[in-house]
């Protein structure tokens, strides 16, 4: 481990990690270019470097891109990667209220904390983790997706329960478009462009970025430059990073809890950072005090910090199956595996035993990426946040252009662009009718994995649903999901009883 430290702290490597973080943040901010593309784009650049420096550069790029994704999710409601969706739930409303700098700072602090806690867990538990990552089967993943759905509770405020459920169902329906696990085309109507289904990016850009940008325009009065000038006038808050002590205190427990949950979810090859962020968001919302619950979805500190911490912890956790088993659990780790292989590192059970130096320097460089990101980005935040001070007449077309460009960069298909504009227009209608769009995206993301895992579980269990009670892991997770849904009800029941019996107080 000490040798690993030595390798990491040469001036060249420190420079590399800075360079990587900077490039990664920039790439990640462009919707459509997430960590996967960022790493894919950087691999040719690192060919000439020695493995350690190359690995460190990659780590910087990786964490930079993850943070860059959160930045665009917070500032312009454009989550370019699915792991950043939960970040925009509360990050964007907070930025919208004029606290963009604070939102970015909270994101930076909590992802740093998530990364740190995950690194500690990783070092402490490494010998056991490989076994944990293999302990989950399809039926357990299915139960976990159900658990993830409990996050929609956060969007079901007064009279909104039914609407949130309907939008989740709509998302689940959209997810069924394309080829299903048995190789059958569904709802493609012979259009080849639909064979692979709608892409996540298309839907998230259309329902989040596009619908929101247009909604803002709709509410503004045309040609009224004075009002615009006022709203764009330098706001002392926008670039401010200030988070008060009591706010830190309020977030401390949720962040540590989310980091631990996020880490273990990340360790599971079939789950990953997206699920982790949803789980953390749903869990913290349900565990929060009633007064804090009201804030969720409107710019809650906890609602922003929890998914950010979980997301980053899960990203660290996802290196466990990669490094200890050589199995890539996600697209990101798959591309990382490619990078490692090109440096001549073959991850697997032997790596940890036979080449501990390599193993530890990989882990240390990952952590170094995390630290540098915080050092590099905190001073930059005020400037990044000032993007929002751009006049609307510039900002809106630029947001629209970047959303379109992001979708194009993923598929290079102009059919997707047309589809996106249409979906965006429909999403705007729902936005106007006060239907929450977040559950739609959540349903869409979870939908595919839910059906895949359910059908796989049924095949494994020869068509029987017995896994729901016969497999303890599955049963426990399902019970937890039900518990999460019932918890608020139980609470209000208890509160009502207290009120009816004043003697107890």
């Amino acid at each position: 481990m000490l040798i690993g430290l030595q390798t990491a702290f040469t001036p060249l490597n420190i420079f590399m990690v800075f360079l990587g973080c900077f490039a990664g943040t920039f790439i990640g901010m462009l919707p459509g270019l997430g960590p996967v593309s960022a790493i894919a784009l950087m691999i040719p650049v690192t060919y000439g470097l020695d493995p350690a420096s190359g690995m460190i550069l990659m780590a910087g790029v990786y964490y930079g891109a993850v943070f860059g994704g959160s930045t665009s999710a917070i500032l312009i409601n454009a989550p370019g990667v699915s792991a950043a969706v939960a970040t925009s739930f509360d990050g964007y409303p907070m930025a919208n209220r004029g606290y963009a700098g604070k939102a970015l700072a909270i994101a930076a602090y909590s992802s740093y904390s998530g990364g740190t806690i995950a690194a500690v867990l990783l070092i402490a538990l490494v010998p056991f983790l490989a076994r944990i990552s293999l302990s989950f089967q399809s039926s357990d993943y299915f139960a976990m997706m159900l658990f993830g759905c409990t996050a929609i509770a956060a969007f079901s405020g007064k009279g909104q329960v039914l609407k949130a459920i309907m939008m989740t169902l709509l998302g689940l329906m959209l997810a069924t478009i394309g080829e299903d696990p048995s190789g059958i085309q569904r709802f493609t109507f012979g259009i080849t462009d639909l064979y692979d289904g709608l892409s996540f990016l298309l839907l998230s850009m259309a329902t989040f970025a596009l619908a929101e940008a247009l909604y803002v325009i709709l509410q503004s009065s045309p040609g009224n430059d004075k009002a615009e000038a006022e709203s764009a006038s330098p706001d002392s808050q926008i670039g401010s990073l200030k988070v008060t002590g009591s706010e830190f205190k309020e977030m401390a427990t949720p962040v540590s809890r989310s980091s631990i949950v996020g880490f273990f979810v990340g360790v599971l090859p079939g789950a990953g950072a997206t699920i982790a962020s949803f789980l953390a968001y749903g869990m913290e919302r349900n565990l929060a005090k009633e007064s804090q619950q009201q804030e969720f979805g409107k710019g809650s500190n906890i609602g922003l910090a929890a998914p950010e911490a979980a997301n980053n912890a899960a990203s660290t956790g996802s290196f466990v199956p990669l490094l200890t088993l050589g199995i890539p659990g996600s697209a990101t780790t798959a591309i990382m595996l490619g990078a490692l292989l090109s440096y001549g590192i073959q991850p697997g059970p032997r790596l940890y035993v036979d080449y501990p130096t390599v193993f530890w320097s990989v882990i240390i460089s990952m952590y170094l990426g995390n630290v540098v990101l915080l050092i590099l980005n905190l001073p930059l935040i005020p400037y990044i946040a000032k993007i929002l001070q751009m006049p609307r007449r510039y900002l809106t077309p630029i947001i629209l252009f970047f959303s379109l460009m992001g979708v194009y960069l993923v598929s290079f298909n102009d059919f997707d662009l047309q589809m996106m504009v249409m979906v965006g227009a429909i999403a705007l209608v729902f936005r106007l009718l006060n239907f929450p769009l977040a559950p739609l995206l959540l349903g869409f993301i979870l939908g595919d994995m839910m059906e895949d895992n359910l059908r796989r579980a049924l095949l494994v269990w020869d068509g029987s649903f017995a896994f729901m009670w016969q497999r303890p892991q599955t049963a426990i997770i399902m019970l937890m999901a039900v518990g999460m849904l019932l918890l608020p009800m139980l609470r209000s029941l208890v509160a009502a009883r207290r009120r009816s019996m004043p003697g107890l107080d």
């Binding site: 190789g183 090859p269 079939g270 199995i327 095949l459």
Partner: protein
């Protein structure tokens, strides 16, 4: 950050118009010069029918990297055209055939399957097959603590109860991993229609499925399973190569274990229809020269690929034979739509 930049540029623009105009004309000049393609011959444009980071993508970029770094071809550019399980790239190539004299498209065995299953209307016959460059073989593996020590014992267990050996694969039903399993079972004299195939989203996920104890057998590409086999996590029982491969000589082939079946998942290059003969010849030569380069040897070794060189008529006949084999098993499994539905 770039939006920030543009914003300050906007403000500067109104104040210092002259400087901006210069910059603008420079940019325009640059774009126009880049849009005009340099003289042909030393150029190769690779079309990839899937997204960045996938199997086609990494092969194409690996080949392109070897070609350009060994100086065989000056400029290699890449274009990802995903969609329609690869059919969008094919239609693009056909539609724009007139200006694709420097373009090759990467493809692999699934193109044959997709055509057969009617996923898309085109087949390899609509393109000009240029050359196959890489071979990957199917591999069947079990967990290292599995009671099965060879392929015969798997077949015996299968004949006893097909449910006791569920096959995990990294792609949907009716695609490569599934077909290879069915072909192997059929060649072993058992009924492939009883096959329990569990589809996963990717090869890595299928390996997890095997290791978590959910399935008993894994059907995947040899290159994907090799590393774990060497590290003792899984045991490859059989490989679908015609004879043992250099990377793992101890692994027996199916043929050696009494199942007369071999299957090559080739990866190769195609060109637009009506591709000039001398252009095809030029690229075939370059690709052939590439095999000897050190750069290619490194890339090939890290990915666990086997060299396979087929060009011209040989390649075409090879494709036809594979199409025939797959067609037979698709029909037997009842997976082929009866005479192209609709």
């Amino acid at each position: 950050m770039c939006t920030d930049q543009a914003w300050s540029a906007a403000r500067q623009g109104s104040r210092y118009p002259v400087g901006m105009t210069c910059r603008l004309s420079l940019i325009l000049l640059f774009i126009l010069s880049a849009a005009a393609p340099p003289a042909a011959a030393q150029r190769l444009h690779l079309v990839i029918p899937g997204g960045a980071g996938g199997g086609w993508d990494s092969t194409a970029r690996g080949v392109g990297e070897a070609l350009s770094r060994s100086g065989l071809i000056d400029v290699v550019s890449y274009e990802n055209i995903s969609g329609g399980s690869g059919s969008r790239a094919i239609s693009h190539l056909i539609e724009t055939a007139a200006r694709q004299d420097n373009t090759l498209m990467i493809s692999s065995s699934p193109i044959i399957l997709s055509s057969l299953r009617g996923v898309f209307v085109q087949s390899f016959r609509d393109l000009t097959p240029v050359a196959a460059v890489v071979a990957d073989y199917g591999a069947f593996a079990v967990r290292s603590d599995s009671p099965h020590r060879d392929w015969r014992s798997v077949v015996a267990a299968y004949e006893d109860d097909p449910r006791s050996v569920k096959f995990a694969g990294g792609s949907a039903r009716g695609s490569m991993d599934h077909m290879v399993s069915a072909l192997a079972i059929k060649a072993s004299g058992a009924d492939p229609r009883q096959l329990r195939y569990i589809p996963y989203n990717a090869g890595g996920q299928a390996i997890v499925g095997l290791l978590s104890g959910e399935t008993q057998l894994l059907s995947t590409g040899f290159s994907e399973a090799r590393a774990l086999h060497e590290q003792g996590e899984i045991r490859i029982l059989a490989i679908t190569a015609p004879e043992p491969v250099a990377a793992a000589e101890a692994v027996p082939t199916l043929i050696e274990q009494g199942a007369d079946m071999s299957f090559v998942n080739w990866r190769g290059f195609f060109a637009a229809p009506g591709f000039p003969e001398e252009r095809a010849q030029y690229y075939v030569e370059r690709l052939q020269q590439m095999f000897a380069t050190e750069q290619w040897q490194t890339i090939r070794a890290t990915r666990g690929w086997d060299d396979l060189f087929l060009s011209g008529n040989d390649f075409y006949q090879f494709l036809e034979q594979q199409e025939k084999d797959l067609d037979a098993v698709l029909i037997e499994l009842g997976l082929k739509p009866a005479v192209a539905s609709q």
